[in-house]
Symmetry: C2
Subunit: 320 residues, 2 copies
């Protein structure tokens, strides 16, 4: 079909910002648009911002909407891709929002929808670190920990759309309280947020004078990026914080690798910029705790598309 | 197709015994055959016994092989269903054995193959406890702990055929040694073997005089069945042993339910005869440790087909 060769719009709908891009059929972004989400304006306001970001991207690409194959949205929460409905998105305060048809009414384009981590997985599978793999996990270490499963070449959503919620797998017995109501979920110990919290403890206890100095230099702001910078500069406590997050991730992945025998695990999100400071301890735990068969074949790698993975994967929905 | 209405042969290939059955298209077994596996006779000897068990089943059903749609084998180990090859089966000492084509040469029938736990899952999905479910796990608590995954209505084998090896998911930090080389795998704490081992400890330590008496009455033999009988009779230590196995199972399932969002988990194998003594503590841990979305929908139930599930599921391969 000729539509398959036309570019598509990919839209990454986040709690803070909306990022749109016109994506060519070979995975290049040829025009971008970005708007604040403005969750407080309600569904109508957010949909208006989605349309504005999309139109900006098309204008910057110098392309009319009639030349676009369709649009895909990656949304933060539980989605029903078949009906284009966001079932539940805590950060948007959305419940049963038919965002695909609402945006279609604004843009006059076919609009598809999936969960943001699933879109990131699709992006990496299409033209990133999981290119060509039919059996891969995506794990994103950001504010929380997200996940997407590619099984037999397709996103697996589970019985009711929740599959891939790796962030809420129990990781530590009696661990920190999690927003989901449980304790010790993976995201309480391996997200960028958890890494920042561990850094704050290291500063307050006097364990890492280097982290303390660096935090002071940026007005006391402590985030995962600071820890990664300190680790690269040789700070042992910073390296240990990243290694510990990696080991927690590895313990959870060991069980999933044994259960699902993936070819590949792609790790993305802000904390993945730690690279081997986090991934090598993770790989080591997976090697130790996974039975030889599935443990021997799986590879654990960094995402290749960075922050654009979700947008690129969302665009690919329009061609499916 | 007319072949779809003809009965099929299902064969359950175990390390000790081979069980065959002629299965009708509505899931009834109309003739059975059983032979010792005789692993020590090598591949040729085992294949001859497979053929003998199959012929016995056909003779007992009063049916000629020309009236049979085909045969399916459930084998204990890693299988390549596409080529009908047992890739690796520790208990048979088999490595890369093309058992489907070997048996086809003996019987003159089309022969299909899959892993035994996968066959049990298919049987339960076809006409047992998972009837009609497209998103279900099967867990078998026997000598070891096996598993099968039905995702999108089909068995999921993973990248290299290992998917579903629930028995080797890490369950207990620094737990008992496992045959796979690791420590604390689920099957070291939740299999029928593990339940028997816990009973032996309860006897030796004097914790359960009831178990001790019952074991003496059967010449010191201690197995999961003994513990189940004692639990039914009201023995608290026996009940606690089964509950503890259930809680270990629940902790592992909680992570898998969060990751995969199944509709149903079917628990089979010898230890599943413990029923709610084991399953209710398991369900309670899953409820506690799974996030509300996937945790709220999953049901955990006993297998309905007992020891015949694998045989019935194997037969169903012939119609697929």
């Amino acid at each position: 079909m000729s539509g398959a060769q036309r570019p598509a719009l990919g839209i990454d709908l986040g709690g803070t910002a909306i990022k749109a891009g016109v994506v060519t059929h070979d995975g290049r972004i040829i025009g971008r648009g970005e708007r604040a989400t403005e969750v407080e304006k309600g569904v109508g306001g957010v949909v208006a911002n989605l349309a504005l970001a999309a139109r900006d991207a098309m204008a910057n690409a110098g392309i009319a909407s009639s030349e676009i194959a369709g649009a895909g949205i990656g949304a933060p929460g539980i989605c029903n891709p078949r009906d284009g409905v966001v079932v539940n998105a805590v950060n948007l305060f959305w419940h049963e929002v038919p965002v695909a048809s609402l945006l279609k009414a604004e843009l006059g384009l076919r609009v598809l929808l999936d969960n943001d981590a699933n879109c990131a997985a699709l992006g990496e599978q299409w033209c990133g670190a999981a290119k060509g793999s039919d059996h891969a996990f995506m794990v994103t270490l950001g504010t929380g920990v997200g996940g997407g499963l590619i099984l037999n070449g397709k996103i697996y959503g589970g019985f009711s759309g929740w599959a891939g919620e790796f962030g809420h797998i129990p990781a530590v017995e009696n661990g920190p309280h999690c927003n989901c109501g449980q304790h010790g979920c993976l995201e309480t110990v391996a997200s960028a947020t958890a890494i920042a919290a561990a850094a704050r403890t290291a500063i307050d206890s006097g364990w890492s004078p280097a982290l303390a100095r660096m935090a002071t230099a940026q007005e006391g702001r402590v985030d995962a990026r600071l820890v990664i910078t300190a680790a690269r500069a040789g700070d042992e406590p910073a390296r240990e914080i990243l290694a510990e997050a990696g080991r927690h991730l590895g313990r959870v992945l060991a069980g999933l690798v044994t259960a699902l025998n993936p070819e590949l695990i792609v790790v993305g999100g802000g904390a993945s910029h730690a690279g081997d400071f986090l991934l090598e301890p993770c790989r080591q735990v997976v090697r130790e705790k996974t039975m030889p068969g599935p443990g021997g074949v799986v590879r654990i790698v960094r995402a290749a598309l960075g922050n654009d993975g979700g947008l690129i994967g969302a665009a690919s929905l329009a061609w499916r």
